[in-house]
């Protein structure tokens, strides 16, 4: 059954034989939307690995249906699932996370909706501008696969895009704010919450007719109870993108280059050497594929 679950995560990548919301980067979004009346199927698989201690590998799967409500407004429905393999691995939220938690499971993590509204086009206006909102219901903590957990999330983005050299060089910046309300059932009667804000920046150049090569950086900042700073991190890495009339695909790698806090924490638990690896990973590899209809 485990292999079947893993297959379900990888199948969309292996079976690739179509535009609009093309993901040029691992994380950052462009202002592009699916044209009105058209839809797109998109599949993302992300491998995350290497924590402060123990062995930790996770594969996140995002299956998405996008629909162009108008040329400038896109709606989408996501199903997020994941596989976690952890042996004595560190984590913030798991009860065993300080000394190392063990888990080996596939789970349905969350269901989310997305609305992306493009106010300005980077092709016909001086700068592209879009607004994004993604409310969702969380079944499990995707960081550790903890099933004794549920909650709500809402991610919001302001997306800026500027194109240069006949739209061959694309620069994007995303300002991301995310609110999560969650509880550990049945222990917690009340929901607690966290606030994340991220800065995501990417540059991608059209090196061939169908091929883009780019660089991306992501800064993630997490605040427990919405105000108490937990950690801040920076990842950087390359992303290559193929775009064709029938399908598009993106492969990106991000490496954590800085994390705070780092080193041993107050309880002597190791946070990572100049990195924060307690509940985030050093490496993530993202593969995306999309089919427009």
């Amino acid at each position: 059954m485990k292999s079947l679950a893993l297959l379900s995560l990888l199948l969309p990548i292996l079976s690739a034989p179509a535009h609009a919301g093309e993901g040029l980067f691992s994380r950052a979004y462009t202002t592009e939307t699916v044209p009105g009346g058209h839809f797109e199927l998109e599949q993302t698989a992300r491998l995350r690995t290497q924590r402060a201690f123990g062995s930790y590998t996770a594969i996140d799967s995002k299956s998405e249906f996008e629909y162009g409500i108008t040329d400038a407004l896109q709606g989408a429905l996501y199903v997020n699932s994941g596989y976690v393999h952890a042996v004595k691995a560190s984590d913030d939220n798991d009860q065993q996370g300080e000394t190392g938690f063990d888990r080996n499971q596939y789970s349905l993590d969350s269901i989310t909706m997305e609305f992306l509204y493009r106010a300005l086009s980077p092709v016909s206006d001086p700068i592209g501008l879009a607004f994004y909102i993604e409310p969702g219901y969380i079944f499990h903590d995707f960081h550790n696969g903890d099933k004794e957990y549920n909650g709500f999330e809402n991610e919001m983005r302001v997306i800026f895009q500027k194109n240069f050299f006949e739209d061959q060089l694309i620069l994007v910046y995303n300002l991301v704010a995310e609110f999560e309300f969650f509880r550990y059932k049945p222990k917690d009667a009340l929901f607690t919450g966290e606030f994340d804000f991220n800065n995501e920046i990417g540059a991608s150049y059209r090196v061939g007719s169908n091929l883009y090569a780019g660089l991306e950086a992501r800064n993630h900042n997490e605040f427990g109870n919405f105000w108490s700073h937990d950690h801040s991190l920076v990842w950087v890495g390359p992303a290559i993108h193929y775009g064709g009339p029938k399908w598009w695909g993106t492969l990106g790698v991000l490496k954590q280059i800085y994390g705070n806090p780092n080193g041993p924490d107050g309880q002597g638990s190791f946070q990572g050497n100049h990195l924060f690896l307690h509940s985030h990973e050093e490496w993530e590899i993202t593969a995306k594929i999309g089919f427009p209809f």
Binding site: S8, S15, A18, F165, E166, D167, N210, G243, I289
Partner: protein, 174 residues
């Protein structure tokens, strides 16, 4: 677990689609559509670096290829340029008919994008007819945008502007 795996499998978009690649006509057919009844002969010209620089300066558009592929008509002042511009994914090949410095017509020869097949529709193409190099050629102003193909329509528009400036540069040589 079994149910979840089954759902995931169902949601996996392992779908094969038909190609959108389309070559609609040959360049000779396009030239004949633009100037029917006229005798057209194929010509190749190469821009000098000075000419290319001058076209870039006057049109504000980049000259990607100095080699020009065109058809000369037996009617003086009528030329058809076969040109390519960048589409979202592939090059868009089109033929631009120019008569004494004004656009006589435009035909799309090859368009291979997922969306925006309206570039082929006469209603969009006829916006260019009669325009001279002094026109604005600005999307959403004197040229309408095409739903889902803003980049393609912007680049074809820029291409027409560039070719009109090219026409002025090379007509004395033909």
């Amino acid at each position: 677990m079994k149910n979840i795996s089954s759902i995931a499998l169902l949601l996996s978009p392992a779908v094969c689609l038909q190609a959108h690649a389309e070559i609609y006509m040959t360049d000779t057919q396009a030239a004949s559509l633009l100037f029917p009844q006229e005798k057209l002969s194929r010509k190749q010209l190469e821009l000098t670096q000075t000419e290319a620089d001058s076209i870039e300066q006057s049109s504000g558009e980049k000259v990607r290829a100095k080699q020009l592929s065109l058809f000369e008509s037996n009617v003086k002042g009528n030329l058809v340029f076969i040109d390519q511009v960048l589409g979202k994914h592939e090059f868009i090949t089109y033929a631009l008919g120019i008569s004494n410095g004004k656009v006589a017509g435009i035909e799309i020869i090859e368009y291979r994008e997922s969306y925006g097949q309206k570039v082929r529709e006469e209603e969009w193409r006829k916006q260019f007819v009669g325009k001279e190099k002094s026109a604005k050629f600005k999307l959403n102003e004197d040229i309408k945008n095409i739903s889902g193909a803003t980049l393609s329509s912007a680049h074809v528009t820029a291409g027409v502007k560039r070719i009109l400036h090219t026409y002025e540069k090379v007509r004395a040589r033909i």
